[in-house]
């Protein structure tokens, strides 16, 4: 019972923060809440161990990020592109909202693993070492994914076109499988 009380406390305190991060990882409100639910259910099953060995926040972040990456790879790309389908703001560097939207849309076009690195770095403010721990990979991989992601975003934003639909990766008929690591060399 004490275990359940502690877990209940965790859910109540952290639900909102988890949903915010989940939304940035998935780009969809419904999927974000499903992702948080799946994460919490896993935590619930292993709560005693989580509480004893890990930081619950760290464990939640790890499970949620990896589930998000895994789910995104399974999902067809056309599902993602439909989110962009409505009118896209025209590019106007002086318009802060349009600019923000474009940054967000460019982020959404990145492979899920790269997107996760950027969300953990620039929203959760984790260090490269902490991101590496969450993703279970080396710091070098995080660095390369981070710079590759920013470079691709720059390319999308500098192309002069709104990232949505005009970019080949945003074509609704495409499915995208994403490289998840470059660090398997022994």
């Amino acid at each position: 019972m004490a275990d359940d009380d502690a877990f209940r406390e965790f859910v109540t305190a952290r639900w909102g923060a988890l949903v915010r991060t989940a939304f940035l990882l998935t780009g969809d409100h419904g999927q974000a809440e499903d992702l948080v639910q799946a994460t919490l259910e896993r935590m619930h099953r292993h709560w005693r161990r989580v509480e004893r060995k890990d930081s619950p926040d760290g464990y939640a972040r790890k499970v949620m990020t990896n589930l998000a990456i895994s789910n995104a790879r399974r999902r067809r790309f056309r599902e993602i592109s439909l989110v962009f389908a409505p009118e896209t703001p025209s590019r106007d560097a002086t318009h802060p909202i349009a600019e923000r939207d474009e940054v967000w849309q460019a982020l959404r076009l990145l492979p899920p693993g790269v997107r996760a690195v950027l969300v953990l770095r620039y929203f959760e403010d984790l260090s490269e070492a902490e991101v590496a721990r969450v993703l279970g990979c080396g710091i070098g991989t995080v660095k390369s994914q981070n710079s590759r992601g920013l470079e691709r975003m720059r390319g999308l934003l500098d192309s002069g076109d709104p990232p949505a639909r005009s970019h080949p990766l945003a074509r609704p008929e495409k499915k995208l499988h994403t490289p998840i690591t470059e660090g398997m060399h022994r």
Binding site: G138, M153, P168
Partner: protein, 283 residues
Amino acid sequence: MSLDLEEQLRQSLSRQADTTRQMPTDPWGEFTADERRHRTARRIARGAVGAVAVAGLVAAIGTGVIALPGGNTATTSVTPAAPVPALVDSPTRGSLAQNKTWLKGLRTALTGAPTCCGFQVVEHSPITIVFAGDVPGRRLALVTVLAQQGGTTQTQMLWLGGPVHATPSRMTLMSTFDPGNVVTRMEGTEQDGGYLVVVAPDQATVQTSLGTDRGTGQRIWTPGKDGIAIVAAPPSPSAPAAKVVVTLHGRTLFSDEPTSEWLSGSTPKGSAVPTDHASETNG
């Protein structure tokens, strides 16, 4: 842009996060209600699988497909539809299929290899190499392993890639996904083009198309062989309008566009289409 990209990204993420709905008044109540629903759904699913299995068994006994001891063996049996063989039951295919040293090296490289994104091949995992060989611009391997990811252990398929002629230790994990009977992958760049590869059960008929004839507008189809198709994709600013159709015993197993990763303006992994003749050692 007035701000550098990293700062813009911070602001954008923060704004977007604020669009999530307000915290429910009782998150714990919502969590437990959903958890109960999920648990019930899992039980129903397990029950349904069991019921189907029992019904199948009863039907099989009834029709004489399965003979009971002392039963009437003269009963006319109903020939069931030919099952679709699992992809993992097909022999290893590809240009490296007979290269036992290379395949053995790949198994060794996979076991316990440090990977990314929380993905880890479990110790002593059975490893099935479904495909291993060179395609235009890459060496590829498609394998099935038991892997840990996101706190769970499950069978996963992996695409591993490396430079043409790469040794097993130079193969890199490119993607993971749930096992399927038809696996497709198209990869390429604006400058160098790339490839389309389809891996299906070995008796399957594979047809691939990377575009249409300009004169007639009809798709141009290229047949594969033994359940495998490997086609070079020409350089193009965007991914070719590809289509894959796979049939087996008159059944369509797959009719869709392939999974695609096509980069405009640069080459995957940030290098020219890789070649690595110096590292060819067959093991």
